[in-house]
């Protein structure tokens, strides 16, 4: 029913890496592959974080939520008011033993090393989907391998999505990642599409 085992995950991830190596996409293994869910594939890129549509008025219409109560949290960047900013994006594809599906963890830092706040990510989603779903879709959790806080996309419905494509997809990681990724700025090259090509 759309779920995969750890060994299957490793095999699918490995063929994913084969394509990545061919087109120099930069994905690589990290961690201990002999341990259940102890390894993941990762990629780090620099790209712009942009707001989907400049929701105007956001600053003006809310005079009460003003500077007086701004806590100086040095670890989190202020909400990005500029239209675009170059950020470092770290994407990790892990295996979730409880859901038996792949799961995406990621972090986004501004160029001066601040973590980009969740609010900016909700707004920056390219499909607008995150903006409506908010906590249902994206929140922060301890990275199961690195033991540090990371953002992650909730895997509850991943199996359902993969189930839809059962039989047609030969690599569930590609199917799932190509569907979910764009919402958080991860666009898969068209070359990955060949991994799921049906044998005709």
């Amino acid at each position: 029913m759309g779920t995969i085992s750890w060994d299957e995950f490793k095999a699918f991830a490995q063929s994913f890496l084969t394509v990545s190596d061919e087109i120099n996409d930069g994905w690589a293994w990290q961690g201990d592959q002999d341990q259940l869910a102890g390894a993941f594939i990762a990629k780090k890129i620099k790209q712009l974080l942009r707001k989907q549509r400049s929701l105007p008025a956001e600053d003006e219409t809310d005079p009460f939520e003003d500077t007086s109560c701004q806590t100086e949290d040095n670890h989190i960047a202020e909400e990005l008011n500029g239209s675009q900013q170059e950020c470092t994006w770290e994407y990790h594809i892990l295996y979730s033993p409880s859901y038996a599906t792949p799961v995406l963890f990621f972090n986004v830092f501004t160029s001066d090393g601040h973590l980009v706040p969740l609010e900016s990510l909700w707004k920056g989603g390219t499909q607008g989907a995150l903006q409506h779903l908010r906590w249902e879709a994206l929140s922060q959790q301890e990275h199961p391998v690195l033991r540090r806080p990371y953002y992650y996309l909730h895997p509850c419905k991943t199996a359902e999505l993969l189930n839809l494509h059962q039989g047609s997809s030969t690599n569930p990681i590609v199917t799932w990642l190509s569907s979910m990724g764009p919402a958080i700025g991860l666009h898969l090259d068209i070359a990955y599409g060949h991994l799921v090509q049906n044998q005709r």
Partner: protein
């Protein structure tokens, strides 16, 4: 003497051999045969796409559409969402091969080059609350 009757016989043979090289492949293999096959030749800058529903997605009354070659996948997704009157919170995914979702800024021509056949590109769409 013997030469003169021989010449008219040879001439048709010569013509035949001269025509033989015409079999060689035309110099423009890039021109897609599919475009010429289509009755409507005005659509050279357009591609036929076929939209098919999977999973619980509602079907569309009109399945075959003609879009411009440099149309982005993202705008096709938006179009389908509007056509099917989806809620803003619902996500719609578009797949080639039923299994790969091209990036929203990918253009139709690139997909057609890789995955098109018989003069059209088949795209499957599914509606999914793939979040949370």
């Amino acid at each position: 003497m013997s030469d003169s009757p021989g010449t008219p016989v040879e001439t048709p043979e010569n013509v035949d051999t001269a025509e033989a090289p015409a079999e060689s492949i035309p110099p423009e293999p890039s021109s897609p045969a599919s475009v010429a096959d289509r009755p409507n030749e005005t659509n050279k800058h357009k591609i036929d796409i076929l939209l098919k529903a999977t999973g619980n997605a509602p079907i569309m009354k009109q399945k075959k559409w003609t879009v411009e070659k440099d149309k982005k996948i993202g705008s096709i997704i938006e179009f389908i969402k509007k056509y099917l009157k989806l809620e803003p919170s619902e996500s719609l995914f578009l797949y080639v091969n039923q299994a790969f979702a091209p990036a929203p800024d990918q253009i139709v021509r690139n997909l057609y080059d890789c995955y098109g056949s018989d003069g059209k590109l088949v795209l499957h769409y599914c509606k999914s609350q793939a979040w949370g």
